[in-house]
C-alpha cells in the first residue's frame, strides 16, 4: 500500500533546479533511505513531504490524498499527521521533556489521561522515564536524540521523516542509536523516510535505498541491489 507518492515533482530555488521530475513511492511500513551528497535534494524532498514548501511542478500524495500541487500546499503540515526528527533536533528549550512530547498531543486535543499514558509509554520505550521533567539543555546528546524521536513518535504518525538525525553524534553513539531506531520501527511499525549522506548508516537502517545526485534519482532498490551497483554509483555517494 502506497503511503507517499511523488509524481513528476520539480523544485527550484533562485533559478537553480534542486529536484528534477522526481517520481517515487513509499510503501507502508518500509524504511526508505534517501542517500546522497550534500545539496543533492534529499532534505528538499523531506520538506516537500512535510508541507513546508510547495513543488513548482508535479504533485505529492499522502495516503492517496493530494497534499501538494504546483505552487500550492493543499493540506498544511499540521494536518498531515507526520512525525519529523530535524537535523538540529529542534527541541523546544523552554519546555521539559514531557512538555515537548505533550505539546503535539495537546494541539491534537487528546485528554489529559490519554496524554499522560502515551507519554509514559513512549518515555519508557526510549529509556527516558526518569528524565521527564528535565529541560533539553540538561540532557546529553544521545538523550536529546531520543527525546526528538519520542516527540515525533508519540503522535503515532503515518510517516516518520528523519533529516540526518544522527549526523552530529560520535561514531559509537551513532551506531547505538541506529539500532534503537530499527528496534523502535520494528515494534511500532511506522513508515520511515530517512535522509543521510552516510553509506554505512543507510545500509544498516534501510529496507530500501534511494540514491540521489544533483536533484535526480540515480538508483532505487533494496540494500543488496544498491550495494551490488556500488561501483557504478559510488562516485555519487560519500563512503
Amino acid at each position: 500500500m502506497k503511503v507517499v507518492e511523488f509524481k513528476a515533482v520539480s523544485k527550484s530555488y533562485n533559478g537553480t533546479r534542486v529536484l528534477k521530475d522526481i517520481d517515487f513511492q513509499v510503501e507502508k511500513g518500509e524504511r526508505l533511505i534517501l542517500l546522497g551528497p550534500s545539496g543533492c535534494g534529499k532534505t528538499t524532498i523531506l520538506r516537500l513531504i512535510a508541507g513546508f514548501i510547495a513543488p513548482d511542478q508535479g504533485s505529492i500524495e499522502i495516503g492517496g490524498r493530494v497534499v501538494s500541487e504546483p505552487g500550492r500546499i493543499v493540506v498544511p503540515p499540521e494536518e498531515r499527521n507526520l512525525g519529523m526528527v530535524f537535523q538540529d533536533l529542534a527541541l523546544w528549550p523552554h519546555l521539559s521533556v514531557k512538555g515537548n512530547l505533550e505539546f503535539g498531543l495537546k494541539a491534537k486535543g487528546f485528554s489529559k489521561a490519554e496524554r499522560d499514558q502515551r507519554i509514559e509509554k513512549m518515555l519508557e520505550m526510549v529509556g527516558l522515564r526518569e528524565y521527564a521533567n528535565r529541560k533539553p539543555g540538561e540532557l546529553s546528546g544521545g538523550q536529546q536524540q531520543r527525546v526528538a524521536l519520542a516527540r515525533a513518535l508519540v503522535l503515532e504518525p503515518t510517516v516518520m521523516l528523519m533529516d540526518e538525525p544522527l549526523s552530529s553524534l560520535d561514531t559509537e553513539l551513532n551506531i547505538r542509536l541506529r539500532r534503537e531506531v530499527i528496534a523502535l520501527h520494528k515494534s511500532l511499525g511506522f513508515t520511515m523516510i530517512y535522509v543521510t549522506h552516510d553509506r554505512e548508516e543507510a545500509f544498516e537502517i534501510a529496507t530500501r535505498v534511494m540514491v540521489m545526485s544533483e536533484g535526480e534519482i540515480v538508483k532505487v532498490g533494496s540494500v543488496k541491489e544498491v550495494r551490488n551497483s556500488l561501483t557504478s554509483i559510488s562516485p555519487l555517494i560519500p563512503s
Partner: protein
C-alpha cells in the same frame, strides 16, 4: 483566525496608524475648492526664507551627524572591544540623554551657561558663552549629546554580530589597528551608515531644541504654521520637503546596504571575541570616556538638581503637573504594550518573510520612524479630525496611534533580532506536531522571545514617555502629557519649577530603566559564572 488574516490585520493597522495620515495630509494640501491645486507648495518653493531655513536645518543635521559618528564609533569600539574597566556600566550612562525629552538638556545647559545661569551667578555673565549656546554651536552640542548613543549602540550591536574567527584570522597577519581598519570597520559599515542616517534624520526633524536655543530651522516652520496659525495647507506644504529628504535618505541607505551587507552571525561554537588590551593607554582612555559621560550626562543633571532648589519646587511641580505625570505613565504603558504586540507581529512578518509584502512593511516602519514628528502629528490630525471620528481624535487614542506610527520600527527591529535566534525548525516541529499558527506563536515563539519582548516593552515605554513632537500636536484638550506640560510651562514658569519638572521627568524615565537593568546585569554575571 488564520496566520495570514492576523498578519494582514497587523499590516492594516500599521497603514491606518502611519501611512494613511501622511497620505491624507498630502491629499488635502493639494485640493482647493474640490479641485487640484499646488498653490500651497508654490509659497514654499518660492520663499527665500524657507530656503534659508532649509539650509540651516541641513547645516545643523550635517554637523551633528558628523560629530556623533566621529565620536560615537570609536567610543562604541572602545566599549565593546577593549578591556576598559566598567565599560558595561558606561553604556547605560551614555544612553540617558536619548531617553529624555531633548529640550530638557537644552534647558539644563541654558541654566548653566545662560544670562541668569549658575556660571553667570558664580563667575559673572559672559555674553560670548551665552551667544555660543543660543545659536548653531549650542544646538549642535546639545543634539550631539542627545544622539551620541545611536552610533555607540549600533557600533556595539554590529560588533557582536561579527564571527570572532574573522578578526582572529586578521590578527595572525597584522596588529589590531590593521584588523580594525581592514576587517572590523568594513564589516560594521552598514551599522555606521544606519546610525549616521538616523542621527541626520532625527536632528533634521528636531524642533524643540532649536526653538529653545533660538536657532531657526525648517521643522519649526511647519509646526508654527499648524499650531500658531492653524494654516493646515501651509503646514503640510512645509512638511513635504521633510518627508522628501527622509525618503531620499532611506532609498540611499537601502541601495548602499544591498551591496555592503554581509551575513554576520557568530559561530555558536566560538568562545567569544578577542579583546584589545589597552595596556598603558588604559588610564587616559578611561579618563576620556568617563570625562565624556561627565560632561554630556552628569553635568546637565547636576545643574537641574541645583537649579530646582529645594523640596518646595518639587511639591509645586507635582501640584501643577501631577496629573500630566500620571497620564504620561499610563499612556506610555499602554503604548509600550501595543507597540510590543505590533512590533512582534511586524518583526515576525519581516524576519520570517511571512507575507510577500514583508520588505515594504519593513521600509514603511523605518520611514515613519525617520519622518519628523511634525509630519506624523499633522497627518494624524488631518485624517482623524472629523465629526465622525471624535472617538479617536478627542481621546488619548490619537496619542497612542502616534506612538504606534512613530515607534513600531524600534519594536520591530528589536524583535527581528530576537526572532533570528529562534530557529525556524522549532516552529516547524510544532507545526508537524499539529499546532496551528496561533498556538505555535503563543506556546513556542512567544516564550522563546520573552527577553526580546521585555526589551521591546521597556524601549517602547521609554520612547513613548519622552515623546514630545507628536503628542504636542495631537493631544486632546486637558489631556497633555508631562513632556508637553513642561514644554508649555517653559515659556512662563519659573526656572526652578521647570528644573524640578525636568528632574521628575528624568526620574520617571531613568528609574525604571535602572530597575530593569540591575537584575539583567546580575543575571548576566551569573550566566558567565555558569
Amino acid at each position: 483566525m488564520s496566520k495570514k488574516a492576523i498578519l494582514s490585520l497587523t499590516v492594516l493597522l500599521l497603514v491606518v496608524a502611519g501611512l494613511l495620515p501622511v497620505l491624507s495630509m498630502l491629499l488635502k494640501s493639494m485640493v482647493v475648492n474640490c479641485s487640484f491645486s499646488l498653490e500651497a507648495y508654490k509659497g514654499v518653493l518660492t520663499s527665500s526664507r524657507q530656503w534659508k531655513l532649509m539650509g540651516n536645518s541641513l547645516k545643523l543635521a550635517s554637523l551633528v551627524t558628523m560629530l556623533t559618528v566621529v565620536a560615537g564609533v570609536p567610543t562604541g569600539l572602545v566599549l565593546e572591544k577593549t578591556d576598559l574597566p566598567l565599560r558595561g556600566l558606561l553604556i547605560p550612562f551614555f544612553v540617558v540623554p536619548l531617553l529624555i525629552p531633548p529640550y530638557i538638556l537644552a534647558v539644563s545647559w541654558a541654566d548653566l551657561l545662560g544670562r541668569d545661569g549658575l556660571l553667570a551667578h558664580s563667575f559673572g555673565y559672559s555674553p560670548a558663552l551665552t551667544n555660543l549656546l543660543f545659536g548653531l554651536p549650542g544646538c549642535v552640542f546639545v543634539l550631539f549629546s542627545i544622539f551620541l548613543p545611536i552610533p555607540i549602540l549600533l557600533t556595539t550591536a554590529f560588533l557582536r554580530t561579527i564571527d570572532p574567527g574573522l578578526e582572529e584570522a586578521g590578527r595572525l597577519v597584522t596588529g589590531w589597528w590593521g584588523v580594525i581598519r581592514g576587517i572590523t570597520l568594513p564589516l560594521i559599515m552598514p551599522g555606521i551608515l544606519l546610525s549616521a542616517m538616523l542621527v541626520f534624520l532625527l536632528s533634521f526633524g528636531e524642533f524643540s531644541v532649536p526653538t529653545f536655543l533660538r536657532y531657526q530651522v525648517y521643522p519649526v516652520e511647519s509646526f508654527t504654521q499648524f499650531s500658531a496659525f492653524y494654516n493646515f495647507k501651509a503646514a503640510t506644504a512645509s512638511a513635504l520637503p521633510l518627508a522628501l529628504v527622509t525618503l531620499l535618505l532611506l532609498f540611499g541607505e537601502t541601495f548602499f546596504l544591498k551591496k555592503h551587507t554581509y551575513q554576520l552571525r557568530p559561530s555558536p561554537h566560538h568562545q567569544g571575541s578577542l579583546r584589545i588590551e589597552l595596556k598603558g593607554h588604559k588610564p587616559w582612555v578611561f579618563a576620556l570616556i568617563t570625562g565624556l559621560v561627565a560632561v554630556l550626562v552628569v553635568v546637565p543633571i547636576v545643574v537641574l538638581v541645583l537649579q530646582s532648589g529645594g523640596l518646595q519646587w518639587y511639591q509645586e511641580a507635582m501640584r501643577r503637573a501631577g496629573f500630566s505625570l500620571v497620564r504620561s505613565v499610563i499612556y506610555a504603558a499602554i503604548g509600550a504594550t501595543l507597540l510590543t504586540v505590533l512590533g512582534f507581529l511586524t518583526g515576525y512578518i519581516v524576519q520570517r518573510r511571512a507575507l510577500s509584502c514583508w520588505r515594504y512593511v519593513d521600509s514603511l516602519t523605518l520611514f515613519l520612524f525617520a519622518l519628523p514628528s511634525t509630519v506624523v502629528g499633522i497627518g494624524l490630525v488631518s485624517l482623524w479630525n472629523t465629526p465622525w471620528t471624535n472617538l479617536i481624535y478627542g481621546t488619548p487614542v490619537i496619542i497612542i496611534m502616534g506612538y504606534l506610527a512613530k515607534y513600531t520600527a524600534l519594536a520591530s527591529r528589536i524583535l527581528v533580532t530576537q526572532l533570528a535566534q529562534v530557529p525556524l525548525s522549532l516552529e516547524e516541529a510544532a507545526q508537524i506536531a499539529g499546532a496551528k499558527w496561533p498556538r505555535r506563536m503563543l506556546f513556542i515563539i512567544t516564550p522563546l522571545s520573552r527577553k526580546g519582548l521585555a526589551v521591546c516593552w521597556v524601549v517602547g515605554y521609554l520612547f513613548a514617555l519622552r515623546d514630545t513632537g507628536i503628542t504636542m500636536l495631537v493631544y486632546p484638550p486637558g489631556l497633555e502629557t508631562l513632556p508637553v506640560r513642561i514644554y508649555t510651562l517653559m515659556a512662563n514658569g519659573s526656572p526652578q519649577l521647570v528644573a524640578a519638572l525636568c528632574m521628575i521627568m528624568i526620574s520617571v524615565t531613568v528609574l525604571p530603566m535602572a530597575l530593569w537593568l540591575i537584575p539583567q546585569r546580575k543575571g548576566l554575571d551569573e550566566g558567565c559564572r555558569v
